[in-house]
């Protein structure tokens, strides 16, 4: 298309488009465009400033090859004009925030699914941060804010082991009864059934065991009782309190219980907070440091032990890479894969209903 169309050519071109596309062109450019009919829309589009005219013309070029090609991959388009701003996309996917100009070619579906498989069994070797957490627990409170499934439980078990060896007791709290039960089974297998007890609102199984599992509410109540001088619940031998799923601190209804537990936790026992990735672990650590006798050590990373990739599955059964890159990059914005964008646009068009089909 020529660099600058003259008025007549552009008017003729616009007249050939559907009203829907015209509205899309006019969006954010023409005031109250939704009130206008086709003729007025075209007139007001023609009356725009030269820069906006230029934008419209670029967008028009992207409309041209759009409608009747269902299966041809649009990847080549992308490489032909890599410096075209992808604003005003021809379909309603919000434009991705482009932080970096993509330089390397987009990943192909084949490459995305390479390397699936089961690794051979390897002797377990703790990561550095896991060892660091366990060492630090001897003297400090510790917050572990790491991605799901990267080995928080290993730290918990090791820490319990050390506490038991020094004849101190451990309380492990979880937010849900269901998780308590899972942990009971897990810890019983590891330490032996006689070493693990569970406390619920109405039942106490093996309450004299060195490891006690309970919900955080129960621990809070125990701490209330201890403060009121009612029971001595072996608070003086309590060496370690593990709060699993500590991100519940932000739970609208129950968050207060976690706060109370941390405030009233006995000074001599260490706190180990296990949490999924949260945005401000530094702040939580600073808070705990400010109210407890020892400082709180934060271990925080976002690296998953198993890398994660994303794919898009079209209802037709076609799989495409979700992002342009193979692995999910964190904190650097994203660029959706062009194939995914095309498939999703098709899906939306199909589900828009007969009224909008033209």
């Amino acid at each position: 298309m020529s660099n600058r169309m003259n008025n007549d050519a552009l008017a003729k071109h616009l007249a050939g488009l559907s009203v829907r596309l015209l509205h899309r062109l006019a969006k954010n450019r023409v005031r109250r465009h939704f009130r206008m009919g086709k003729t007025r829309l075209i007139q007001s589009l023609l009356a725009l400033s030269p820069e906006q005219r230029a934008e419209i013309e670029t967008t028009l070029t992207s409309f041209l090859p759009e409608p009747p090609r269902p299966s041809k991959p649009s990847k080549p388009d992308r490489q032909v004009k890599p410096n075209h701003q992808p604003d005003a996309p021809p379909h309603p996917v919000p434009p991705p925030r482009q932080h970096q100009v993509p330089t390397e070619p987009a990943i192909s579906a084949r490459a995305l699914f390479e390397g699936i498989g089961v690794p051979p069994p390897q002797p377990f070797k703790p990561d550095d941060w896991q060892r660091e957490a366990i060492d630090r627990l001897a003297t400090n409170d510790v917050i572990l804010s790491v991605p799901t499934g990267s080995g928080k439980t290993y730290v918990a078990i090791e820490a319990m082991q050390r506490a038991i060896e020094t004849e101190r007791t451990v309380i492990y709290t979880s937010p849900l009864k269901a998780l308590s039960n899972t942990k009971l089974t897990e810890f019983s297998q590891f330490f032996g059934a006689d070493q693990v007890g569970i406390l619920t609102g109405d039942r106490r199984d093996n309450p004299q065991a060195p490891i006690l599992i309970m919900t955080t509410e129960i621990l809070r109540n125990l701490l209330y009782d201890a403060a009121g001088g009612e029971i001595d619940m072996r608070m003086d031998t309590l060496g370690l309190i593990i709060l699993d799923e500590s991100q519940f601190l932000a739970d609208a209804e129950r968050g207060v219980v976690w706060e109370e537990t941390i405030i009233f936790a006995p000074a001599q026992s260490r706190l180990l907070l296990l949490s999924a990735s949260i945005g401000n672990p530094e702040e939580v650590a600073a808070w705990i440091s400010s109210i407890r006798s020892t400082s709180c050590h934060l271990i925080h990373h976002r690296n998953r032990s198993v890398p994660l990739r994303a794919a898009y599955l079209d209802p037709s059964g076609k799989l495409a890479p979700f992002f342009r890159t193979r692995d999910i990059a964190r904190g650097k914005g994203f660029v959706l894969h062009s194939e995914t964008k095309r498939l999703f646009a098709n899906y939306e068009d199909r589900t828009l209903g007969p009224r909008y089909k033209r």
Binding site: G149, A178, D205, E245, L249, V256, G279, V284, R330, Y347
Partner: protein, 674 residues
């Protein structure tokens, strides 16, 4: 997605009639239920439909989905769907489309299941077992019994299953990893609203993908459903999670328990230890730097002749305005006009827009009281002009004898004026007129205010006049900041004191903030709606109550889900007791949010205890509530009963009844798990 209407959704024509019907019913339902809902039918129909038709399946058929996943070796997978019903339907759909797994794997599943059944007998005869064995898929959501969920998790951990269909509502409760996580939605139903998934939630879901030691790589597969937008999901996968905020609230049991252990003087330091206060302090610190900034700016306007010149000037200004109220006509003129008016006497030469003129008369218009001029212009025309039309006053006055009628001067003067005008050169010296910007105040006015205020004669008056608006703004900002900071520092303490006042009013605390004998036992009730329960006990509502009735009442207090359900019949005793409870709860509503008090859930707990021989399945069959919900209801009731049982020292009778209720309740399924 939000801007579109229903027709645009993924609906076949035949379906859309049904949907329209459902939608209309739902609309009527909602119109009576909650009129303030943000996502009402009229505001956001698509969100509304998601809300009330939460069983909308993903666009790809579950069987096809699994086939693709198997083909790409992406199994085992966790498929997150919008609702329990969608999960169950996905499982059900496998029966129509044969896709069985090899018999060896079926055998492995049976092995694990047998093992689990030995431990948890309630799994035996679960209706989903054949599907699990044949197709290697299972559903996992809050509607199932905990024992079944444990079995599914165990199967998943052993690698026996290809896919588990789960709901997103309990992301933390899904504690088993898989190779692949399938996401079909970008928003989720919370309470009565639809909210977009947060970055934290999306990462929590995606985090289940990829098993340590069992996978080289994990996958998130996004597949579209009517309720998906790619933006939020992509953002959630790549962005940093949101920071968390404290949700500290002060409750009655907290107040009682703190005051049991500490005197009121020590409470404030304890509250200051909270994360809430920590975060408030940080915000307050930020405000304080802002305040310092404002104060340094204010220092520039420091002391003048009077100690507090800003206030002094403000009241002076106010008095001035009030006095001048009566002379509005003169006060209306803009300063440049009123400065000119003194010069526009008869005989004065002026410059109008193009040419010169001589003023014959000055007067005020009748309607607005605007200053007007009668002038004679070049060519001898006598015309009326507003004074504002004068562009310049010329340093030239001729003699004009005034007259009382048109043309407002004697004919000789008029002739003289016209002649002079014609003789005027093109350029004339303009009279410089000093426009006194602050001279808006009338000299007479300031004269009268002199007795009350020092300002009219004060030497720093011009400075005050100039600086006042800016200084006043700064000072108001300072007051606002000081107030905000103070509120932040003391907010928790104030809320604590409010609770103390309520507890004193009800007699749980003495005026000196010590626990009364009533408060001493009331602090042992540490659950939601504690005030209602302790008040019920004190009013004797539980005198002579039966175990089943007590459990029923506590169940209705404990249950806070408004998911609709039908009821297994009620008897008059329960109805009248609940009626009483409702009255009391209503009277306490100023101090504590009343519970839902649904009698249908009360009837379930009541029946379970009243008929000790009733098998679990029978109970489930009598209600439309899901098994898992009934289990959770009864487990919560048990917790509430055990709290009441904790009062055995002061209320032995009631504690005995609740002990009985607990013993009767803990049977069958409820006994399986601690």
């Amino acid at each position: 997605m939000c801007e579109r209407s229903i027709e645009e959704k993924n609906l076949l024509p035949a379906e859309s009639i049904n949907v329209a019907l459902i939608a209309y019913c739902m609309y009527l339902y909602e119109a009576c239920q909650n009129q303030n809902d943000k996502h009402s039918f009229l505001c956001a129909p698509d969100k509304f439909l998601l809300h009330y038709r939460p069983f909308m399946p993903p666009a790809i058929h579950p069987v096809d989905l699994l086939r693709v996943l198997r083909h790409q070796r992406l199994t085992p997978a966790i498929v997150f769907l919008t609702s329990r019903r969608a999960c169950d339907e996905a499982i059900g759909s496998f029966e129509h489309r044969q896709l069985p797994i090899p018999p060896t794997r079926s055998a492995a599943i049976t092995d694990v299941l047998d093992h689990m059944i030995a431990e948890y007998p309630s799994i035996a005869g679960h209706p989903l077992i054949p599907t699990v064995q044949q197709y290697g898929v299972a559903a996992h959501h809050a509607g199932h019994l905990p024992s079944w969920k444990i079995a599914v998790e165990e199967l998943m951990r052993q690698g026996c299953l290809d896919a588990v269909f789960a709901t997103t509502t309990l992301a933390a409760g899904v504690d088993f990893p898989a190779r692949t996580v399938v996401m079909t939605q970008s928003s989720v139903r919370k309470d009565r609203n639809i909210t977009e998934l947060t970055v934290n939630e999306i990462q929590q879901l995606a985090g289940r993908g990829g098993r340590r030691g069992k996978d080289y790589v994990g996958f998130v597969v996004v597949t579209p459903s009517p309720y998906i937008d790619l933006g939020p999901i992509a953002n959630g996968l790549t962005n940093h999670p949101e920071p968390i905020d404290s949700q500290f609230v002060i409750s009655y049991p907290m107040v009682l328990n703190l005051l049991k252990a500490h005197s009121i003087d020590h409470i404030q330091p304890i509250l200051e230890k909270s994360f809430a206060q920590f975060q408030l302090n940080q915000r307050a610190d930020a405000y304080e730097t802002k305040l310092d900034d404002v104060e340094t700016q204010l220092e520039a306007y420091g002391r003048r002749d009077c100690a507090d010149w800003i206030a002094q000037w403000q009241s002076f200004n106010l008095a001035k305005k009030r006095r001048s109220h009566h002379r509005r006509n003169t006060q209306h003129d803009p300063p440049e006009i009123s400065a000119q008016l003194a010069f526009l006497t008869p005989g004065r030469a002026v410059e109008l827009s193009k040419n010169h003129a001589i003023v014959l008369r000055q007067y005020r218009s009748r309607g607005q009281g605007a200053p007007m001029l009668t002038v004679v212009r070049n060519g001898g025309r006598v015309i009326e002009y507003p004074a504002s039309a004068v562009t310049a006053v010329i340093d030239e006055v001729i003699d004009v004898t005034e007259a009382r009628r048109f043309p407002w001067c004697t004919p000789q003067s008029l002739n003289h004026a016209i002649e002079t005008l014609e003789e005027f050169p093109a350029r004339l010296r303009r009279l410089p007129i000093r426009v006194d910007q602050d001279g808006a105040d009338n000299p007479i006015l300031t004269e009268t205010l002199k007795d009350e205020f020092p300002c009219p004669t004060c030497p720093s008056r011009p400075a005050c006049q100039k600086d006042h608006p800016q200084a006043l703004k700064l000072r108001q900002e300072k007051h606002r900041l000081t107030k905000t900071i103070h509120a932040m520092r003391t907010e928790l303490w104030h809320r604590f004191q409010q609770h103390v006042e309520v507890l004193q009013k009800f007699g749980y605390l003495t005026p000196a903030c010590q626990l009364t004998s009533e408060g001493d036992w009331a602090r042992l009730i540490r659950i939601n709606h504690s005030l209602l329960i302790t008040e019920l006990i004190r009013m004797g509502a539980f005198e002579g109550i039966t175990a089943s009735l007590l459990a029923g009442v506590l169940a209705s207090i404990a249950h806070d889900d408004d998911r609709p359900a039908s009821f297994p019949g009620r008897h008059p005793g329960l109805t009248s007791t609940l009626g009483q409870v409702r009255k009391i709860a209503h009277s306490l509503s100023a101090y504590e949010e009343p519970p839902l008090l649904r009698w249908d859930v009360a009837a379930i707990a009541d029946r379970w205890i009243a008929e000790p021989a009733l098998p679990w399945n029978e109970l489930i069959r009598s209600t439309t509530m899901a098994e898992g919900d009934v289990y959770r209801l009864l487990a919560r009731t048990l917790e509430y009963l055990s709290q009441v049982y904790g009062l055995k020292a002061t209320h032995p009778g009631l504690a005995g009844v609740s002990r009985d209720a607990m013993d009767l309740m803990r049977r069958d399924v409820l006994q399986e798990l601690p």
